[in-house]
């Protein structure tokens, strides 16, 4: 399978600020790729360059095999971060209009619009003006506008922001469905839970630099904290942690508020260490901690956060 998107040495500056610096990125066809990064990291700039809404100062982009997204706009669905609707336009007319702009035939278009509205639970809004819809409803309408023409590549910029848990779930299902149909999906998000649930690949940008570009499995392996989380059966105050320190493979023991953290030399030592912990003290819970994306995220941008707090910069990975 080829790449849906190839970015080579792309740099974009806005005045004195470099939004994206010398970026290389490949996104294989058919994968779901999450763009993560703190606010102002360069995610939206990268997406806008992919969409050929703005153009890089240096470097090359290939989108769906073409040198510019302009040539394949009808094959791309895009939900921008700054999204809106024509407030006075009726929902049905708006979606029909968007479909026509995406090059769809006007014949079957209206039927597709009605089907989509029904699917997201907005069938009765066809004749309503967009301004009568709540923000979450508008977002669903905008999502329909992005995918109605069955694009090969779908780019969603912050699709989960402003949605309630029920609609987040609905959107996750819709994204999953698009993946099932073999489409390439890119979405930028701050919602780490959704990223973990949906992504095959992760791309992280920080201050315009790529800091992470890998499959989710590799990321997990790379950032595995090798931590054993031990919750003793008795109150923590009564536990003697000294025997735990002498278990082979354990580098460090930290007593927390509810549990004890055992830092291992490597994940390979986990099985043996777990058996020994269970033999040493009575445990309520014993868990080999999986790295959460949130932890990785904070670890990667942590240096910056620390600098902001005026602390000594420890530096991320």
């Amino acid at each position: 399978m080829g790449n849906a998107i190839e970015i080579r040495g792309v740099t974009k500056t806005f005045g004195p600020k470099t939004a994206v610096r010398n970026l290389d990125l490949d996104i294989p066809e058919g994968c779901v790729c999450g763009f993560i990064g703190p606010n102002g990291a360069g995610k939206t700039t990268t997406i806008r360059m992919i969409m050929a809404i703005i153009f890089p100062d240096r470097g090359d982009l290939t989108v769906l095999g073409r040198p510019s997204a302009v040539e394949s706009k009808d094959r791309i669905g895009y939900l921008p971060e700054e999204r809106g609707v024509y407030r006075k336009m009726k929902v049905g007319s708006f979606l029909n209009y968007m479909g026509k702009l995406k090059g769809m035939d006007s014949g079957p278009l209206d039927k597709t619009v009605r089907e989509w509205l029904a699917r997201v639970g907005l069938a009765d809004t066809y004749r309503k003006k967009c301004e009568e819809l709540s923000k979450g409803m508008q977002q669903k309408v905008q999502f329909i506008a992005a995918v109605i023409h069955k694009p090969d590549l779908i780019i969603l910029d912050e699709p989960f922001s402003g949605l309630d848990p029920v609609n987040r779930k609905l959107l996750r299902e819709l994204i999953d469905e698009q993946r099932g149909e073999g489409r390439t999906l890119i979405f930028s998000t701050h919602a780490m839970f959704e990223a973990e649930q949906l992504c095959d690949r992760l791309f992280m940008i920080h201050k315009g630099n790529k800091v992470l570009d890998n499959t989710l499995e590799d990321v997990w392996a790379r950032y595995d904290p090798s931590l054993l989380d031990v919750e003793p059966a008795m109150p923590l105050a009564h536990v003697d942690v000294t025997p735990l320190r002498s278990i082979p493979g354990v580098m460090n023991v930290v007593v927390g508020a509810r549990s004890i953290e055992l830092k291992l030399q490597s994940v390979d030592r986990a099985q043996a260490a777990m058996t020994q912990v269970a033999q040493t003290i009575a445990v309520r819970r014993l868990e080999l901690r999986r790295p959460s994306l949130e932890d990785i995220f904070i670890q990667l941008v942590g240096g910056n956060e620390a600098a902001l707090r005026g602390e000594k910069e420890e530096g991320g990975d």
Binding site: I53, K73, M98
Partner: protein, 456 residues
């Protein structure tokens, strides 16, 4: 191409389909037309009934006869015609004039029955005056006293070295103002006649000699002689330019506000995911150009209907209408580019005002130059103005529809200049549009806009 068309179509429908457009733009001329059609009918219906008598106390004893003569229905009618013919003569042709006069006569004379009652010269003013009051509010009858005219002896034969005495006219408050005028006129003329007679002159003969002759003024054209109307000749070029101005600015304003709305409601980036900024810009400009042409056609059509109703179509050269269309496209093309660029650069209408200010000052210039240019359409000043880019189409429309023929080479020259201007403006606008449309935050100033043009 199709996408541009869809953008244009949406822009057109979104503008024309609003209540605001129908109420603000289409309704006023329609209402005016309706009022102009219905008014005469209403007036004909509503001619007030006037019945009663005008009493005269002629202390000179010499003016009564003339007064009676001038108050006779035929004399009143004749005098009215004379006056209307003098005041409104050049503006309307004979057919319309006849109709207008009939209407005016109807309004004033209608079913009026006004007689003159001659009181003895020594009648008591106060007692007779009281009779006006007693008639008030009673049903009409010949006994109603509508007015009392008192002609003092000194008004006909003033004392040596003194001015003639004033005539006194007392009337019911509700008496129509036209009738008060008729009575005043009749009394004045009667006194003048009496003075002439007292000096042994023939009043009728002198009036005949003094009457200023009517004129029949025509301009000579290839199609024959056409009635001249100076007023229309002056107004017409102004009307043409104003029409152009209104059409350009109304649709330009719509373009500005719709661009700002698309930007501030953040729908723009959604649109840009499907079409390029250039397609949006061109589509929007074409859509609003259609709105402008609709306005132009609508108002120009209304104007032509008006002119044909008054048989004044000859004043309009069909070629001028063609030029109006061409110069509209040039004027709108360039101004729309500027408006779209400004609309894309700002986030709300308030921010747009500061950028629009200087532009508006430039564009009001043709309005201010209207009078000097129609007075002398081929002056050096007018010719120079015709070649100053943003105001050129307005000045040319003014000159072309004026009385003096414009040197022919200037028409293609200014059209070519206009085309170049549109291309340059479109180029600059496209650059500003592409950057501005996704730029939020601090509104840019002119220097920033120039930077954007250089940057993109």
């Amino acid at each position: 191409m199709f996408k541009t068309f869809h953008v244009a179509l949406r822009e057109f429908i979104a503008t024309v389909g609003t209540k605001g457009f129908i109420i603000g733009v289409i309704l006023p001329p329609v209402l005016m037309g309706v009022v102009l059609t219905i008014m005469p009918l209403l007036l004909r219906e509503a001619a007030p009934k006037v019945e009663g008598h005008v009493a005269i106390i002629d202390r000179s004893g010499q003016a009564t006869e003339s007064f009676q003569k001038y108050m006779a229905p035929d004399a009143v009618r004749g005098e009215m015609r004379d006056q209307l013919g003098r005041d409104g003569g050049p503006l309307v042709d004979s057919k319309q004039a006849e109709q207008g006069m009939k209407m005016a006569e109807n309004m004033v004379l209608g079913s009026a029955q006004v007689s003159v009652r001659v009181l003895p010269p020594d009648a008591d003013d106060a007692a007779e005056r009281a009779q006006i009051l007693t008639g008030e509010g009673k049903p009409e009858s010949p006994d109603q006293r509508l007015a009392l005219v008192v002609i003092p002896k000194e008004s006909v034969t003033p004392a040596e070295g003194e001015n003639p005495a004033e005539l006194q006219i007392l009337h019911q408050p509700k008496l129509a103002v036209q009738w008060v005028g008729i009575i005043q006129n009749a009394a004045r003329r009667a006194v003048v006649d009496a003075r002439l007679a007292a000096n042994g002159l023939d009043a009728a003969k002198i009036r005949g000699l003094m009457a200023a002759p009517r004129t029949d003024t025509k301009s000579v054209t290839e199609k024959g002689d056409v009635k001249t109307s100076e007023a229309l000749k002056m107004l017409l070029p102004g009307a043409f330019m104003f029409l152009l101005w209104i059409a350009v600015f109304t649709s330009g304003q719509y373009l500005l506000t719709s661009t700002i709305e698309e930007k501030s409601s953040r729908v723009m980036e959604v649109i840009l995911s499907a079409v390029s900024p250039m397609q949006v810009l061109v589509g929007k400009i074409l859509g609003q150009a259609a709105v402008g042409l609709l306005l132009l056609g609508f108002y120009a059509g209304a104007g032509l209907i008006g002119l044909s109703a008054f048989n004044r179509m000859s004043l309009i050269d069909p070629l001028n209408l063609l030029y109006l269309g061409i110069y509209f496209i040039i004027a709108f093309g360039s101004i729309a580019c500027l408006f779209a660029a400004i609309g894309s650069a700002v986030s709300d209408v308030r921010e747009a005002q500061s950028l629009l200010g200087p532009l508006m000052i430039v564009l009001v210039i043709p309005m201010m130059l209207w009078f000097p240019i129609i007075q002398n359409p081929n002056s050096v000043f007018a010719q120079v103005c015709s070649f100053i880019p943003p105001i050129s189409p307005f000045i040319m429309v003014l000159r072309i529809s004026g009385t003096e023929p414009v040197p022919f080479w200037q028409i293609p020259a200014t059209i070519a200049l206009g085309m170049v201007m549109v291309v340059v403006f479109a180029w600059a606008a496209a650059k500003i549009f592409r950057i501005g449309i996704l730029m939020y935050g601090k509104p840019p100033n002119f220097i920033t806009l120039v930077k954007w043009i250089r940057m993109a």
